[in-house]
């Protein structure tokens, strides 16, 4: 009676090579594909930023323990040794661990999805802090960016199309002025002029993310409160960034209008609307997509000073607090999230460019070929 073996016969080296070859080919092809390359580059960038920020924050003068030591010496009259001993107990931080060891621990934790605990607020996970404040920043800065981009593109295109007209002249001046004013100045002007002087709104009433007297929940009242409280930060972001979009779109549209294919399209008797949308608008928009993608990535970082001035509960305000207090772990966590979002949005922009502009796809194929 023959027993059929369940163990597969050992493959000969030649057969192994035969199996391996297509695998290697597949990996090689995958690696040489544009998408994989972009993804790998993205991963490398995130890792590099993570490493860079880890060491950079530690190179900053002062650390939370030193600041606390000084505070304790001043307020409680402790000697340096007493203050150092007391401060060490207040923070989730090993004063004596070598930086290399701290880095390895950090990388291991990050790979496990653990961003560590706050140094300033011992025991509070960094991830909790990020998830608590990130949605507010995404909402306010993201909304501001989208409104600013949409309006900027429309106004910029119109200015270029009716170049030399009243709209162009007036808006060029307005956009240039807005572009040159830092956003915190705009925020201060809104508060002091519109709020305090003109009393168009109660300064305190619009602070924070929502009205504390409204119970959080999926209700019209709560959503309305959120929108109301986001108004001032969003207006600030829009005013601070729209000038850039307007001027960029105007410049891009003017250069597109001078292209031969526009002249040909017009000569072919295409309607003005079709020329504007399908030919001018789409092509003029392309250079702005990369800029938009980077801006989308930077949304996560929020706007530090604007959030502070409006007491908006965003990530930027937390970043400011972390930097001032040298809360290394929170700084690292927020920088990591910013890096990931910038890299991810850049990747998406790269892929979108291929979709928007067939020449990019052709270029990729030609490179491969």
């Amino acid at each position: 009676m023959s027993v059929k073996s369940t163990v597969p016969p050992a493959a000969s080296p030649v057969r192994q090579m035969r199996y391996l070859k297509p695998f290697r080919q597949r990996v090689g092809e995958a690696l040489s594909s544009y998408t994989a390359r972009v993804l790998l580059q993205g991963l490398f960038t995130v890792f590099a930023v993570m490493t860079f920020t880890f060491f950079l924050v530690r190179l900053m003068p002062g650390n939370p323990v030193d600041i606390k030591i000084d505070q304790l010496m001043q307020t409680q009259g402790l000697t340096y040794e007493q203050a150092r001993s007391q401060a060490a107990g207040l923070f989730d931080m090993d004063l004596n661990a070598p930086v290399g060891q701290q880095y390895l621990t950090y990388v291991q934790r990050v790979l496990r999805g653990d961003l560590g605990k706050s140094i300033l607020s011992a025991g509070t996970p960094v991830a909790d802090i990020i998830w608590r404040f990130l949605p507010w920043t995404l909402f306010s800065v993201g909304l501001g960016l989208l409104v600013s981009f949409a309006l900027g593109v429309l106004i910029g295109a119109a200015m270029a199309y009716w170049r030399g007209g009243i709209l162009d002249n007036v808006m060029t001046a307005v956009a240039s002025i807005l572009y040159s004013i830092p956003e915190y100045i705009i925020a201060l002007l809104i508060i002091l002029v519109a709020g305090v002087q003109l009393q168009l709104f109660q300064v305190g009433e619009l602070r924070g993310g929502f009205n504390p007297d409204v119970a959080p929940g999926f209700t019209l009242e709560f959503i309305g409160s959120i929108l109301k409280h986001a108004t001032l930060p969003v207006i600030t972001y829009v005013l601070a960034t729209i000038g850039g979009w307007i001027l960029a779109m105007k410049s891009s549209t003017i250069s597109t209008l001078g292209e031969d294919y526009i002249t040909v399209a017009k000569a072919r008797g295409l309607s003005e609307r079709r020329v504007l949308t399908a030919y001018v608008g789409r092509n003029a928009l392309l250079p702005l997509v990369t800029r938009l993608s980077v801006s989308i990535g930077l949304v996560v970082g929020g706007s530090v000073i604007v959030e502070e001035l409006f007491q908006y509960p965003g990530l930027g305000r937390q970043l400011l607090r972390a930097i001032n207090g040298r809360d290394y772990t929170v700084m690292q966590g927020i920088f990591l999230i910013i890096a990931i979002s910038v890299v991810a949005s850049t990747i998406i922009a790269d892929l979108m460019l291929g979709w928007l502009d067939p020449r990019v796809r052709v270029g990729q194929k030609a490179t491969k070929g």
Partner: protein, 594 residues
Amino acid sequence: MKRLLAVLLVLTILVGVLPAAAQDGPTGTFLGTWPYVLPPNHHFNGFATGGPGDNLGAVYRSLVELTPAFYMWADGKYEPLLAESWGFTDDNKAYFITLNPEAKWSNGTPVTSDDVIATYALGRIMGWSQFTYINDVVKVDDHTVNFVFSGEPSLLAERLLLKEYIVSNETYGELAQEALDLIASGAASDSEEWTALRTKITEFRPEQYLATGPYTYTLDDVNDAYLTLKWQPNSLFSDKVKFGEIRLWAGETETTAPLILSGELAHSTNVYPASSVEAFEAQGIRMITLPRGYGVALLMNHDVYPFNIKEVRQAMAHAINREENAFITAGFGAEAPKYMGGIYALTETLLNQEDIDALNPYEYDLDKAAALMEQAGFTRNADGKWVDAEGKTISVEYKFPSEFVDFSGAAQNATEQLNSFGFDISLRGMQPFGEVVTAIRSGDFQLSVWSYGAASPFASRHFFGPVQRFNYPETVKIDPNFKGMNFPMEFEYNGEQIDLNTMINEASTGLDVEAQKERAGVVARIINDLLPFIPLNDLIGIEPVNEELLGGAPADGDPILANPAGSGDHYVIWGILQGTMFPQGAAAEMMSGS
């Protein structure tokens, strides 16, 4: 009639059976401000960063957690808060505190000695400074505790004990027991067990904030814009206070100034620049002035030539017009230092008149300054700059924290004045302020600026900064990164070998106030002569009070305004607890949810 009796009976039963309904508390809101942090960083653990100390500061924490007593600076007396009586035991070997037997926590349970024992058990693990003076805390009875001195009895220890916040044994009991067990085991404070327990304590997150004061709050009361402390009925002061709640707007100076101008903030402890103060006054906001307890000083690295020469330092003191410096620094929020002996102006009671009279006032006198420079071997070159025998000018860098309006103003003005006198100083603004602290501590500076004096009724605390705070003749032997000002603390002075460090430490020891004054006088004279640093101006708190929203603020000249700003003896604490301050106008109608 029967029906009426039946109704009355039912009503009586209902009143007796139904749980005590929420007691009618006062209404109206105190509108203040404090830069608290938001959850998840915000918590109720008083032994960790991100807890009540950070979120409420000394002023508002005192309305939730009562300290045993409140100090009146004008007459140097303590007034009772949580304690009923206190003092040194007959043999002076301990200090006793007897709690008010009527005191209750916000959940209705009585405050007892066990709470004090628990507080200090954890405090010992956390390295509290009280244990510099005491080595044991003993329960005498349910309401009395003895703090046993490890050495001489001390008035400084008394202040530390009477001004400490007492936490609840119900909340911290388990940790406190672990602490007591660890202490009883004889473990050293640098042992692994000690460190582990310290970490455990800092990571503890109480679910509720039990209060002895008339206000408390939950995490639901902390929102992005403001934090609300709500009245609770069980405190010793619940019946006295006139505010139903305390609303603390989030933010620092730059974010709270618009709220004052828009009439939404009644009082602020923040420091505002002169331009903001003018704008407040133009709107009819009253500005209350009170001491801040500290001033701004020019610090020099004594390892850097020529700041190691006494005559050069004295010349610098004469060459700076401190009146001008004070005005440039903070307008009416600063004044020229009266004494140049390392003691802030408010503490005239700390020195004998004889010593005060002996202090050199270093009046603004460029001729005296020039004579001292010449005495030190310097001459003026063709450019009017001072040069030494080798022709070297005094070219140095002055590091200052650019985010602090007062410090940077003082540094810039001092530099301007010294340069016009013949120095060659370049300014370097740094941010955040921690960079400057680090630079001074590590001795990586030539000239810098920081505070001197202290909001303390003890001379040794005034002398502490910066001569001890930023000067580490002992520590540098352990950690070479800590050089500080490099001012020698052991040297020969008037033919006598002295140890300035010990002299400062001992300036406020013991119970004999007159002896303390004498010792402090000797130190003040030495500091006045050697000038290890140069006081530039004394800061004064100028706090905006909107009297349309807040009534009962002390009148100008009221003795309570001798209590320093930003301290646990602030007049707002007393005014609210005693019910002398009350809501007015819109604030009287204001309550959360209404």
